[in-house]
Symmetry: C2
Subunit: 135 residues, 2 copies
DNA sequence: TGACAACTACTGGTGAACCCGTAGAATCAA
DNA sequence: TTGATTCTACGGGTTCACCAGTAGTTGTCA
């Protein structure tokens, strides 16, 4: 329902929350500063305050600090992001999207297996839906 | 070499140029206004002026109007966009990216065929690289 | 209870994307 | 040549993401 559209930084923060379930500003600040550019504590705090307004996270008080928890599912968010990107850049053309996505990347055998399994599954749905060959 | 990173509007304009080879501001303005929100002529002009500064397009004079031509390849741009999105959102995890990309979308039989062909091709490269079955 | 450390609230600044209007230049037709 | 038309150059305004500092608050511990 909530139309969430996290920015890059917000997504970084959400990744930490998804990984840990919940986290304080301090924890997220340390986490993102380890993997990328170090950020000021207040910067991360501001980020969460904006995210809370957007309905992406909520907080509860623990001691004197706030503990933040994600309100959006990782899976949903990723799907929407992927879908949005697909529509925006490739006008919904899945095949071209995949060609370009895969071209630069080397896929492992297991990834290829998984991909094939996905195709098989899709074929199943396909034949169910299009039994009569209509559009 | 040129590190191009078109924004959404820039990409819209580029799509028109790729389709036609080249186009005047007027043509692009009409084209994007047909498919989406109508934009003022000067808005599109400004867009091109910025894009030219970024090295995304160049122009030549024809009559009193400028004709713009893309300086970046469609294919390259799409690949970079797809790769960037993959890294930014999914930290480079191709399989998860694909799962989410495909989940919401219905694929046609021909798209599935094409996808399988891509996988077969990838397996060819794969077996060359991983003959000893390591990791 | 008082001081200190760590936290939050609030405010502001910067840069980029986006949008458009006005003024002036160029072209063309009468 | 002159007027109308259509273009470009330029400047400005708005919004948003992002970053961070300051001031005030809160909890803790001696």
């Amino acid at each position: 329902m909530a139309d969430f559209d996290p920015t890059d930084r917000e997504l970084e923060a959400l990744k930490v929350l998804w990984e840990r379930g919940e986290a304080t500003v301090r924890e997220v600040c340390d986490a993102v500063s380890q993997t990328g550019e170090p950020l000021a504590y207040t910067t991360v705090l501001s980020l969460f305050q904006v995210m809370e307004q957007k309905g992406l996270v909520e907080h509860r008080k623990q001691g004197k600090a706030y503990v933040y928890r994600p309100l959006v599912e990782r899976k949903n968010t990723f799907r929407k992001l992927a879908g949005g990107f697909l529509d925006r850049v490739f006008d919904g053309a899945v095949d071209e999207y995949l060609v370009h996505a895969l071209e630069g990347k080397k896929l492992s055998a297991s990834e290829l297996d998984q991909l094939e399994a996905m195709i098989a599954k899709a074929r199943g749905k396909q034949s169910d839906k299009n039994k009569w060959g209509q559009q």
